[in-house]
């Protein structure tokens, strides 16, 4: 009974989102960027590295902004759905997946298709590509959940949109600056543990580390990556990062479910 409701809500919302121009443009952007990088670099490894930065920047931004805007415009329809004999938990699950899945499809399809067409021979590159697609999906899941939290928290959609952009700026721009500042100010002290903790506390940093561990070039890409590699090189590092990413999906999703249950629409 309840699984049917979730499935149906996901199905129809998926259709609605997939037909939106924003989502088509989003998928097309990754498709073009990937194809262009593959052609111009002529080298899978370099294309993947550039794509990593693009994914880390663009996925959180688009997911947050499109997610909150979509949720505000779906507000009245959500009320109509809530007036049906369905539970709020089921409805939240349906709405969440119905938004996260098409967004994830935009990244995975857009980045994955050109590689699929061109073919990837080296198994190590294949693993890197798989990691990139997984991390893109994880970031989508995380920031969709945060978008839900924002849209449920703020009644006013302008405030909500502002909050979404603020979250993105904080996580993708300000946070790194803060980490660097701390590192330079307290450079006389052993900071590894603190930096590790700071990395776990920001999903974008975490995603970056996850990819860098996979690419095995962490020393080139920032302080946190180097520290992480030293501490958690190999299987343990991957496990910790994966677990932390899962936690980053679960935490905002749990907050979202809770406020969806309590909210007065």
């Amino acid at each position: 009974m309840s699984a049917r409701v979730v499935r149906k809500v996901v199905g129809y919302q998926l259709r609605d989102v997939l037909r939106s121009r924003t989502l088509m443009a989003y998928g097309a952007f990754f498709l073009l960027a990937t194809e262009a990088l593959l052609r111009f670099t002529g080298d899978d490894a370099r294309a993947l590295l550039s794509l990593t930065s693009i994914v880390l920047w663009v996925v959180p931004l688009v997911t947050l902004v499109y997610g909150t805007v979509y949720l505000y415009s779906a507000r009245e329809f959500t009320e109509l759905l809530l007036a049906q004999p369905v539970g709020r938990g089921q409805l939240f699950a349906g709405l969440y997946l119905g938004l996260a899945l098409p967004l994830a499809l935009g990244v995975v399809g857009g980045v994955g298709l050109p590689f699929l067409v061109n073919g990837v021979d080296d198994p190590a590159r294949r693993a890197s590509l798989a990691a990139l697609l997984l991390v893109g999906t994880a970031l989508t899941a995380i920031f969709t959940a945060i978008a839900f939290c924002i849209a449920l928290r703020f009644e006013d959609r302008l405030k909500g949109l502002g909050a979404a952009i603020a979250v993105w700026l904080a996580a993708s721009v300000l946070y790194d600056g803060l980490v660097l500042l701390i590192v330079s100010v307290f450079s006389d002290y052993p900071l590894e543990r603190a930096v590790l903790a700071l990395t776990l506390a920001n999903p974008i940093d975490l995603a970056r580390v996850a990819l860098l561990l996979q690419f095995d070039i962490s020393a080139l890409m920032g302080y946190t990556g180097a520290v992480f590699q030293r501490f958690f090189g190999g299987a343990l590092g991957t496990t910790v990062v994966t677990a932390a990413l899962m936690l980053w999906i679960a935490l905002p999703a749990a907050i979202g479910v809770r406020s969806f249950h309590r909210k007065d629409f």
Binding site: V9, Y12, S20, F77, L80, A83, R262, F265
Partner: protein, 238 residues
């Protein structure tokens, strides 16, 4: 049919409903009227379970809706005020979605689709439809599952006169067949046509609740618009 006891709701500093007691009778059309921000929409949303009461209870046929779970809404058809539907779905898809949510057991009544001449519009994306046409989709959705309680929030706003007439006939037919209605509207003449009972809310208090004829008698007015206006000015003076 619906018994409301001591219902109170506050949004921050704003008291939207202050200990409201009401009875909504079966098989009748009850109009909720009152100035803006009187608590009409909050009252409706509470009956639907969209908004939770701070205090008090809503009993539907004697059962508390807050404790009763979600199943009671199987009996309710809701027509919300603003017809914001998913813009990239078609009308047919939205109706199919609602049907799928109810499950295969739900019996449907699509007669209003032809009544409102909506059939040719149903295959178009909602984004491309006018506000009035989207409101027709909402109207069909409200009547779709043969509900015995219908909650209509400004139902005819945006409907053209022909559609509005068809819709009101549908309300009368369903009422004659035993359905109960709760309607809000700013169009007093329309409520006068449809309503049996009137609930008059001001600042979250019930100022009047009873049959339409009684409201007119109390205010010594011969139509609802003047009766309500009289109530409002009297309220402002008091």
């Amino acid at each position: 049919m619906i018994e409301i006891k001591g219902l109170a709701k506050r949004f921050g500093a704003l008291e939207v409903l202050r200990s409201v007691d009401l009875t909504i009778r079966r098989g009748r059309v009850t109009a909720i009227v009152g100035p803006n921000a009187a608590g009409k929409t909050t009252l409706i949303k509470m009956i639907l379970g969209l908004t939770r009461p701070d205090a008090g209870a809503i009993l539907l046929d004697g059962r508390d809706i807050v404790r009763d779970g979600d199943a009671y809404r199987e009996r309710i058809g809701y027509m919300p005020q603003a017809p914001h539907l998913p813009e990239n779905l078609t009308g047919a898809e939205v109706l199919a979605m609602l049907r799928d949510l109810r499950g295969p057991a739900a019996t449907v009544d699509e007669s209003l689709i032809d009544g409102l001449a909506l059939r040719p519009e149903l295959s178009k994306k909602l984004r491309t439809l006018s506000g009035g046409t989207r409101q027709k989709v909402n109207a069909v959705a409200a009547f779709l599952f043969r509900p015995d309680l219908l909650i209509l929030d400004e139902p005819t706003a945006g409907l053209d006169p022909v559609a509005s007439g068809v819709f009101k006939d549908r309300v009368r037919d369903a009422r004659a067949a035993g359905a109960t209605f709760i309607v809000t509207s700013h169009i007093m003449s329309e409520l006068e046509e449809l309503a049996d009972d009137v609930i008059f809310l001001v600042d979250g208090n019930v100022r009047f609740a009873g049959p339409l004829g009684e409201l007119k008698a109390v205010t010594r007015q011969d139509n609802l618009e003047r009766a309500v206006a009289q109530m409002m000015t009297r309220g402002a003076a008091a």
